[in-house]
């Protein structure tokens, strides 16, 4: 019987490792969106002295390869320094799993992206950046690039989902075209905050929905 997934993928899918959340995580990142059918969220605990990833956990919404790649990424990066972890590639993840069907390679890319974003967030937070650029609208847009509108499955910046971006003295206010009672409103808010708040010169991020006027 020809099954699209390797035995290893099925094994990780059935018994994923490092599932869950870390409450006092030093870095968090989400990539993908429920609209695309693929979403990974990583939580990292990093030793401030050694810069080593001491603990890493994941949550995943998606297909078997999504769950398996997220799981393998946590194993491959655990106890590595952030510099070592940054070098981890989707190819390495895929190889370790005995290969992925071509249509599912993007799952590995997603998991690696999440790891890199989490490390980048950590570097912002800890002042580890080599070059400190002041946040401007360009940087905000770049960071929001991969946030997906849950209604359409399209990038939020491309479909007038983000109505307004305000930046004032380290405070960002993003106005989005979504009602606050949408089932994924909280996820979207969380994702936007998660992507912008780690920026080194940002103090606070607000997300305002259609039916809201004030900052929450």
């Amino acid at each position: 019987m020809s099954f699209p997934y390797s035995e290893k993928v099925m094994e990780y899918f059935s018994h994923p490792k490092n599932v869950g959340e870390i409450e006092d995580a030093d870095a968090v990142a989400t990539e993908g969106s429920p609209a695309c059918g693929d979403m990974v969220k990583l939580y990292l605990k990093i030793n401030p002295e050694t810069k080593s990833i001491e603990d890493i956990k994941f949550k995943s919404y998606g297909c078997a390869s999504n769950i398996a790649t997220a799981s393998i990424i946590t194993e491959l990066s655990k106890n590595k320094t952030i510099e070592e972890a940054k070098k981890l590639t989707w190819k390495k993840a895929s190889e370790t799993l005995g290969g992925l069907p071509p249509a599912k390679v993007h799952c590995a890319v997603l998991a690696v992206d999440a790891l890199r974003t989490a490390i980048e967030n950590y570097e912002h937070k800890m002042g580890l950046l080599k070059e400190k650029k002041s946040t401007d609208t360009n940087i905000i847009e770049k960071r929001l690039k991969r946030v997906i509108n849950p209604l359409t499955g399209l990038e939020v910046l491309k479909v007038n989902f983000v109505k307004k971006i305000d930046l004032d003295d380290g405070i960002i206010t993003i106005t989005v075209n979504l009602d606050s009672d949408h089932p994924f409103a909280n996820n979207i808010r969380e994702e936007i905050v998660e992507r912008l708040e780690p920026l080194w010169d940002i103090k606070k991020v607000y997300v305002i929905f259609n039916d809201e006027n004030e900052r929450h």
């Binding site: 959340e21 998606g62 297909c63 999504n66 909280n186």
Partner: protein, 391 residues
């Protein structure tokens, strides 16, 4: 719980009934000649008799005449023949519009799109949140230039059954032809083609425990179509090629065996499955008609919040349960179900949709086994899901 094999993908295809196989074998081993006219050898005439008997059974089931049933290789071919056959026969006509719904099977959608490339003006009718044709939209689209309207009877994915009678009235008021793809509802929802005013209707054998690779197109006596498969005078000169005698005979037998009691039992099992999910799990949404009397009896389509369908399907497969999902991850094209999206659902709802489709071979134990495992799998995947707020 002891492992079982539970096949709940009967909207896709069904197990062939043993009596059908036995009947077909007669035409494999004994009357296996090419079916031929009465002026031929005896084996050929016997084979022809097998076909004609099946034709009569199917015609009677839908209140058609024998010579209005054209055998094909299945629904896809029947749908192609209906749309392209009408288009070819009416090239000279001024009518240039073909109207189909947004929730058709790909064999209708892609045939329509092909005709669009040939110069026809193709219009797509909207459906509502339960998958019912937007009648006002249909009335707007069907005009004096409309040649053909094709609307699926019972939808294969969400089970919603359209009101053929009122649709055909709208279509005929403008002098257009009406085709319906009744593949998934055939015999489960009785249709009288004359009373409903249907010009062409697609039916298939493998959804009712007949063999695969056989179907038929009902073509009303009053409608002229042109054949799309050249190469012989078979099937009233509407389909060239040696007839699939055993398949056709098996199709007839499957129709003969089909029973109302089975339908009632399947309805009971389907409803039981739904009730158990509704009371046993949170975040379960019904896709398709909420009025179960306007739903194919062997169809239940549900979305489970916060989780993705392919993972559900794989986990259930490991537990011996066969179902499918409308999730993009599951499809070859990596696209979420066009049917669920046409109903206005979000991508997440499409990704989380699972179709459960029992048959006469499904047991109450199979239903209970399925409920037990679906609950376990959904709970397991929700624990993994970043979309579920931490308790």
């Amino acid at each position: 719980m002891e492992k079982r094999n539970v096949y709940l993908d009967n909207n896709a295809t069904t197990r062939t009934d043993e009596r059908v196989v036995e009947h077909m074998n007669h035409y494999h081993l004994n009357d296996y000649a090419v079916a031929s006219s009465q002026f031929s050898h005896t084996p050929g005439i016997k084979a022809k008799d097998g076909i004609e008997k099946a034709r009569q059974i199917i015609a009677e089931k839908i209140s058609a005449l024998n010579n209005e049933i054209v055998f094909t290789s299945g629904s896809a071919e029947s749908n192609n023949l209906a749309l392209k056959g009408i288009a070819l026969a009416n090239r000279a006509a001024k009518r240039n519009r073909i109207v189909v719904s947004k929730i058709e099977h790909f064999s209708v959608l892609d045939s329509a799109k092909r005709l669009g490339k040939e110069g026809y003006d193709i219009a797509f009718v909207d459906v509502d949140g339960e998958g019912f044709i937007d009648i006002d939209h249909l009335k707007n689209l069907v005009n004096d230039e409309t040649l053909l309207v094709s609307i699926i009877h019972g939808n294969h994915e969400i089970g919603t059954v359209q009101d053929l009678h009122s649709i055909s009235e709208i279509v005929h008021k403008k002098g257009a032809y009406f085709h319906t793809d009744a593949t998934y509802s055939f015999l489960q929802i009785p249709v009288d083609v004359k009373k409903y005013g249907i010009d062409l209707m697609t039916v298939s054998s493998d959804k009712i425990h007949g063999p695969k690779g056989v179907g038929a197109l009902y073509v009303s006596e009053d409608v002229i179509i042109e054949k799309i498969t050249d190469g012989g005078f078979q099937e009233f000169n509407l389909r060239g090629g040696t007839e699939n005698v055993s398949g056709i005979a098996g199709f007839g037998k499957a129709c003969e065996i089909f029973s109302e009691e089975d339908v009632e039992r399947i309805k009971y099992l389907r409803n039981d499955l739904y009730e158990q999910f509704k009371s046993g799990l949170k975040g379960v949404q019904l896709n398709g008609s909420s009025d179960f009397s306007r739903r194919i009896p062997n169809n239940l389509n549900l979305s489970f919040d916060y989780i993705e369908g392919e993972s559900v399907v794989l986990h259930l497969d490991m537990r011996g349960i066969s179902v499918i999902t409308g999730s993009a991850c599951f499809s070859r094209a990596l696209q979420a179900s066009h049917i669920l999206l046409a109903m206005g659902f979000s991508h997440e709802r499409a990704h989380g949709s699972i179709r459960f489709s029992p048959s006469k071979y499904t047991l109450k134990e199979d239903i209970d086994y399925t409920v037990h495992h679906v609950k376990e799998v959904v709970t397991k995947l929700r624990k993994l899901s970043p979309l579920v707020e931490q308790q």
